[in-house]
């Protein structure tokens, strides 16, 4: 019996947003009389942080503190239409709609402030701390709150904005497949270090090391949770789970978490991540979306690392101990490949 060390890698790209487009998102932004903003959406927060990323995009665009913005989402009576949270579309599509809406609302806010300060709105800037002042003259200023109160009670202005983002639907050529799938791609390269036991067929993932290019990490903490969680799912897809372990035989499906195998806390490997940011020309502040793609490089990297460790190729997922042992038997034992670094 021996445990063989292996290292494998894979590199991928991933399309951001619904393939072929045609998937609109809308946003509505308005201020209460104290200059506190609400963003109304119909996007879905699945735990990925849809509300928070919309909130940060709105606060940045409005030029107000983040505490002054809350996102109210997914009530069909008050939230405008949105296709939904899937296809890595949330940040890109909803984010852009929020920018359009927040820009309009900011325009009215600055007009109201300009009227109070008796200056041209084009000369006004926000400090992101709740104040509006004349560019280069910080003393000539008004708070967002005072400007909003003036708009509501004195000037009769609605500080609000509407936004929509739509990439027009692309056709597909039946003969050649010519199409415009998406406008932005995220990228990744991931290295897996693992060991394979040639007696039990057990694979232990020891370390993940990765580089993800995501346009811009709008909230680095949420990016980190996505990348770590996604890589865990990738590891689970590669080595553990399926409702049909002998697909296409439909039997033996798990009925609960005892029978449906997934890696537990003891199986989680440390993950060392580098984030690269090449802004998407049409992304909100350059953002793309790490949502789906972060799982993808793990599957092939694991398979390639297993080959590096024992010299067998398992081309059918998941790579279970049974498959490894059968392949080792067919090969006549482990044949470790060249060690890398």
């Amino acid at each position: 019996m021996a445990r063989h060390q292996g290292r494998g890698m894979a590199s991928i790209n991933y399309p951001i947003g619904m393939n072929l487009g045609g998937d609109p998102s809308q946003a509505l932004v308005h201020a209460n009389p104290d200059g506190k903003f609400t963003v109304a959406l119909s996007a879905i927060d699945l735990g990925q942080g849809m509300k928070q990323v919309s909130r940060q995009i709105a606060a940045e665009t409005l030029g107000v503190p983040i505490e002054d913005v809350y996102v109210d989402t997914a009530d069909s009576d008050t939230g405008p239409h949105d296709m939904g949270s899937f296809a890595s579309r949330g940040t890109h599509r909803v984010g852009n709609a929020v920018i359009v809406a927040a820009k309009e609302a900011r325009g009215v806010l600055l007009e109201a402030a300009a009227e109070e300060l008796e200056v041209n709105a084009d000369d006004l800037v926000t400090d992101g701390k709740g104040n509006i002042h004349v560019r280069g003259a910080a003393s000539k200023s008004i708070t967002v709150k005072a400007a909003s109160q003036a708009a509501q009670f004195k000037q009769g202005k609605t500080i609000s904005g509407r936004g929509i983002f739509l990439i027009p639907l692309s056709n597909v050529n039946p003969e050649t497949g010519e199409m415009s799938p998406v406008t932005a791609y995220a990228h990744a390269c991931l290295v897996v270090d693992l060991e394979v036991c040639d007696e039990t067929g057990d694979v232990k993932v020891n370390k993940l090391t990765s580089a993800y290019e995501l346009g811009r990490a709008l909230n680095p903490k949420m990016v980190e949770q996505q990348l770590i969680g996604g890589a865990w799912m990738g590891m689970s897809h590669a080595l553990y789970e399926t409702p049909e372990p002998y697909y296409p035989n439909p039997e033996h499906g798990g009925r609960d978490y005892n029978e449906y195998l997934m890696p537990g806390p003891g199986d989680i490997a440390p993950h060392d991540i580098a984030v690269l940011e090449r802004p998407a020309p049409d992304g909100p502040f350059g953002g793309k979306g790490p949502g789906e793609m972060c799982a993808n490089p793990v599957l092939p990297a694991v398979a390639n690392a297993i080959f590096n460790a024992i010299g067998v190729r398992i081309d059918t997922l998941p790579i279970t101990p049974e498959k490894i042992l059968r392949a080792l038997k067919a090969q006549g034992g482990a044949r470790p490949q060249v060690r890398r670094a």
Binding site: R55, I99, D256, E277, E292, A303
Partner: protein, 559 residues
């Protein structure tokens, strides 16, 4: 551990923003960590009823008879819903965007096509009473032979799974039994390649395994409307689907959701919304329909299985000159979203690499299993697994380091992709370089100096003369396996048109692309990737295709 490589692409970014780029705590964190956040199932109603469904024990069977009389008399039962009670009992999810034919009943009629297909719904005062009554529904079946393998299902004479698609494949463009991708001439390139490698990859189905299972609570509201607490990943998508199935105007439904306990694609199908609302309509009471864990794992739609057969032609120096991919998506018994996943898969071929000759054929196949649906990266995840294992094998075959092999073949700004759009904003090379650096994986000087910003375009931007073929016409499976028929006079396709731009993000004025990066100086001439080999000349061109003919739409079935 997470680090930022701010040195890369620094001149394309403004890093002096106020809130963007900050790890601010989410607005709903306090509610989540104190257990006060309300999910769909946290909405209590007085007089709440519970709905459960009778599911088929057979993979494929004709329904001979249904007897609900005992169930109707069972304790606590308020209503039994049968197929004829569903106003529009045939739907396909993507009909909302005009894609595909209605092919799936909410409750089975005449036939069941997968094990677990709902046939009858029972509504009772409690979960336990509903489950007890479900067992009292007597359904007579005549079992039918079933088909589980995608390639078996495509064979002439195979068992017909879903009569809407009698060939067991989704029909693309009203013309083909699959979606094609044609770029250059792979057959000619295989003949000139130093090595040809053909391999088969299989990804099994995957369960989403969200913490929260699928479910809905629907209740009559005042003014003849219904409030619906939903776990849907697309609120209006689910509202629209429910309105269609129940033949209601959309504004009679008031959907509330947005805070969901995990989805991963498993909450796109509106598995529970239509029946819960129908139950509320028929009983005048609030109705809760939630899948148990076993139901969710066995009968909630999974990520579908994908099979990819990849054939590559590679030169001794590592250049991939041709890639052919044949893909089979196992949709299960009904379309749901698999037809979309197939087109997404085709758009992703041949992966993030510049290959001068590419051919793709992707099938959406019906089998007698639980209908598949979206899941994190579907259409791409299985293909990426296949491509990247294939890349590792190719690197091994030609004796080149796998990272070097990726960089050599990586797509770069300005390259033409197989779906005939120019690549821009690429960063695959930089990701490989950074990952290599982090693990001290030795790279050659050439690989370290490579850049996504340079070396692309030029001859790599060309659309090669392309041969097309008529293989796989609907209803003619015998043409599927035939060697590609060179269409006489197939002409090179016209140059692509730039899609409408939607610019919003404005890089700072100082933005100057193609400046040398700190760690990766722009590459010397020696590091320039080899130009794409000149593709073989096809048959003499006939009349050029017109722009209008280029885009026959997959979306022509609007109904």
């Amino acid at each position: 551990m997470l680090e930022f490589r701010k040195d890369l692409f620094a001149d394309e970014r403004d890093d002096n923003l106020n809130v963007i780029g900050k790890g601010e705590q989410r607005q709903d964190m306090l509610g989540h960590v104190t257990g006060r956040t309300r999910f769909f199932d946290d909405h209590g109603f007085e007089g709440l009823l519970h709905l459960k469904v009778v599911r088929s024990p057979h993979h494929h069977a004709r329904i001979r008879s249904i007897d609900v009389s005992a169930a109707e008399r069972a304790p606590g039962v308020k209503r039994v819903i049968r197929a004829q009670d569903v106003p529009v009992n045939k739907n396909t999810l993507l009909s909302l965007i005009g894609f595909g034919k209605d092919d799936e009943p909410t409750l089975a009629v005449d036939k069941v096509r997968y094990k677990g297909e709902p046939i009858v719904a029972v509504i009772a005062d409690s979960d336990a009473e509903a489950m007890a009554a479900v067992k009292l529904v007597r359904v007579g079946y005549d079992p039918l032979p079933a088909v589980f393998d995608v390639q078996e299902a495509l064979k002439p004479g195979a068992v017909v799974v879903n009569e809407t698609y009698p060939g067991n494949y989704f029909e693309y463009h009203d013309k083909y039994d699959h979606q094609k991708l044609r770029f250059g001439d792979v057959e000619a390139a295989f003949r000139t390649a130093d090595h040809v490698l053909e391999e088969r990859y299989q990804m099994s189905p995957i369960e989403h395994a969200s913490t929260e299972t699928n479910g809905t609570i629907a209740a009559p509201e005042t003014n003849d409307r219904y409030v619906v607490h939903s776990c849907a990943q697309g609120l209006f998508f689910s509202l629209g689907t429910t309105a269609k199935i129940l033949a209601l105007e959309s504004n009679r439904l008031h959907f509330i959701g947005g805070t969901v306990g995990g989805g991963f694609g498993g909450k796109v199908d509106s598995l529970t919304e239509p029946l819960a609302v129908l139950g509320a309509i028929l009983t005048g009471r609030p109705v809760r329909y939630v899948l148990g864990r076993e139901e969710e794992m066995q009968f909630g739609s999974p990520r579908g299985a994908e099979r990819h057969v990849i054939k590559d032609g590679v030169m001794r120096d590592g250049r991939i000159v041709a890639r052919q991919i044949t893909s089979y998506f196992d949709a299960g018994a009904y379309t749901r979203l698999s037809s979309y996943g197939v087109v997404k898969c085709v758009a992703h071929m041949p992966g993030p690499y510049t290959i001068p000759n590419v051919r793709g054929d992707a099938y959406c196949v019906f089998t007698n299993r639980v209908p598949a649906t979206a899941m994190r990266g579907f259409g791409v995840t299985g293909l990426d697994f296949s491509i990247e294992v294939q890349m590792d094998k190719l690197a091994h075959l030609v004796g080149i380091d796998p990272m070097e092999f990726r960089i050599l073949n990586a797509y770069r700004d300005g390259d033409m992709k197989a779906h005939r759009r120019v690549a821009h904003n690429t960063a695959l090379i930089e990701c490989v370089q950074v990952a290599a650096q982090k693990v001290n994986w030795p790279l050659s000087e050439t690989a370290r100096r490579a850049s996504s910003l340079s070396g692309g375009g030029g001859p790599r931007a060309a659309i090669p003369p392309t041969v097309t073929d008529e293989s796989g016409r609907i209803g003619r499976p015998e043409t599927r396996q035939a060697p590609p028929q060179l269409t006489p006079g197939a002409a090179p396709l016209p140059a692509y048109q730039t899609p409408p731009a939607v610019p919003i993000y404005q890089p700072p004025p100082a933005h100057q692309p193609v400046a040398p990066l700190p760690n990766y100086p722009s590459q010397p001439a020696a590091a320039t990737p080899p130009p794409a080999p000149v593709p073989p000349v096809p048959a003499p061109p006939a009349a050029p295709q017109h722009g209008a003919a280029r885009f026959s739409s997959v979306f022509t079935r609007r109904r």
